[in-house]
Structures are given as C-alpha cells and as structure tokens.
Assembly symmetry: C2
Homo-oligomer: 183 residues x 2
C-alpha cells in the first residue's frame, strides 16, 4: 500500500502562502494557496498552477537508536496550535545519487548531523518526508513542516543549520514556501 | 528522470516462459510469454494477463567497496549468449520494513551476505533490480536475471543460497519465472 501525497499550488487551498522564495536553482510559479491531499485526491483547488507528488517510505539512513529516539519525541501533524507550515521541495545532484549507501550515511549523519539537528527542534517542529525522485518528479524530496507561531524562530534556526551542512552542498534546487492555515 | 520497467505476462512476448512456480505466498496467473519494456511501453503483447512495474534507483545497502567490486565484475544485460532469463518478484513482510536502516543492512549483508553471494555468480549471471514497493505494486522487488544455458546450474545455486539466508525469513511472497528467448 503506497501513500502518495500531493501538494497542489493554486487558489482556494487550505493553506495560504505567506512567503515563497527560491533558495537555489529554478523557481516555482507563485501561488496564493496550497492544498495537501492524499491520493486519490478529493480536494478541490481552483486553477492549480502545479502539483508536486511524493510518497511515504521506510527510513533510509536512521539507525535503530535514532528511530527510537525520534519516535519517543516527535508529535503528529494537525496539532491545533500548529497553525503555520512550510513546504520545502529539494533536489540533490547526480554526485549525491552516485554515492554508495555508506558514503551517503556518512555525509547525512556523521558529518552533517541531519537527524540530530532535526531532533533539537522536536516536538515543536513536526515534519513529514515525502520521496519524489523515484516518481520522476522535478524534486527529490518534499518536506512538510508544521509548528505554532511561537516556534517560527526555532524553525528558522532548523533550516539555517541544515543549509550550512556538508550534505547541503549536494542540493542543487530548493524552494521554501511558508504557509498559514486559511481562516 | 525515472526509469520504470514493465514486465507484462501474456502471449507474444520476446521471452517464452519455460517454467513458473510459486515459491511462497499467492501465485500469479500462468502465461505463455513475457515482454520487458521501458515506459512508455511500446511493446505490443497479446492479451496481457498481468503487468508488474518497478523502477531503477540508487543503491540501498551497498558500501563504496562493494559498489566498486560489483562494477568491476558485472556485465550488462542483452549479451548474445545469455539466452535464458528469470524474473523473480518478491515481497517482504511488514517486520522488515519497520526495521531501521542499520538493522536491515546487518541482516542483508553482515548476516545474509546478499551482495557477496551475488558476486560469486558474476559475471555469469547478470541481474537488474527494480523497486516496486513505493509504486503500490503487489511485490516489493522484481529482479531480472540473464545467463547462458551453461550457467543455469550456477543460477540454481545462487537462488538456493539466497533463499537459505536469514534475510529470506522476511520474504512472504515469491514467484520464480524461468524464461528463454523466443526464437
């Protein structure tokens, strides 16, 4: 059973776009709002500008200890106080994908501390990772974050720290879309 | 760019089914022949009984050393002498997919020596792995093998050894379809 989620930019979605910026590479057409849906999509969005798709999958780098720590600390999406969200689509370059598993793990965690950095902002910043590369999508990953307004500075620090890592040298396209729940 | 391959069972395909058996779990409808195509599929097959799909992706367990060893020894598909082939669709159970990356790697290689066993039969038995689970397919992996008639005993040993591993305790559905190039 595959869980495919769609992120559709347009008008009338449940999340209003507060700010959208191209961090690296080619941009995405600006939209007013975003709809997040699980396929088959039953969410109506007016005049969609684009749709990004990704699936939930098994963990690719986390060890047993890391998975257990994450599970003990993280909280789910859709918390009533988490009225802000962000969608960050990223693509990694060919050099990343040509690396062996141990080389990617080494950069991801031992050098860049990706999981450890994310843990520092749990449970405040909830996240869900969607894999897109194997669907032939324009991005490799779509990460969705939800947090309360008072945790927005924590979210800023989280993305700043990740972008400063060695892992991020392999990112060749990145968009950051900040959102707020539509009233 | 995603590389999706389709394996369609029916009549009139380029590979004639020599033998098909259900190793574990639910079977697949018996067919006369198989067509292998890269999507978008332009191969005509008469009255398809089923179609299995999978994509080529990055390595999931192999280390740099293992990848380099494999690359130095393996040969490509479609060698003129490799007139025999096999398609082995497998599915792993939920317990496997709930494991962390280090636990799966440990079972896959340190305990079960999956890559090492495959290496023992290179370059005789060429293989290509297709990932299906994240497409919501009935199987998790479709492995395609090609070999010359004189290497059929080596292929038999390869699959016997893999099925005797601890990793295979997690396989809950497996079909083995042996094929020969249609004249």
């Amino acid at each position: 059973m595959v869980d495919i989620f769609t992120f559709t930019g347009g008008s009338g979605g449940a999340w209003r776009v507060v700010e959208s910026r191209t961090v690296k590479g080619e941009g995405l057409r600006a939209v007013e709002s975003l709809a997040v849906a699980r396929e088959p999509d039953d969410t109506a969005i007016t005049s969609p500008a684009w749709t990004l798709r990704g699936f939930i999958s098994n963990v690719r780098y986390a060890t047993k200890t890391e998975v257990e720590t994450l599970r003990s600390v993280q909280q789910g999406l859709a918390r009533p106080r988490a009225t802000l969200a962000a969608l960050i689509p990223i693509r990694k370059n060919a050099a990343w994908w040509a690396l062996a598993q141990d080389e990617r793990r080494e950069i991801f965690e031992e050098t860049s501390h990706h999981t450890a950095i994310g843990l520092d902002y749990l449970p405040a910043v909830a996240r869900r990772l969607h894999h897109s590369r194997d669907l032939g999508e324009p991005f490799d990953f779509l990460t969705w974050f939800e947090y309360a307004p008072e945790d927005a500075p924590a979210f800023d620090r989280l993305v700043d720290r990740l972008r400063a890592t060695r892992e991020w040298n392999y990112v060749d396209r990145e968009i950051e879309i900040r959102l707020a729940r539509a009233a």
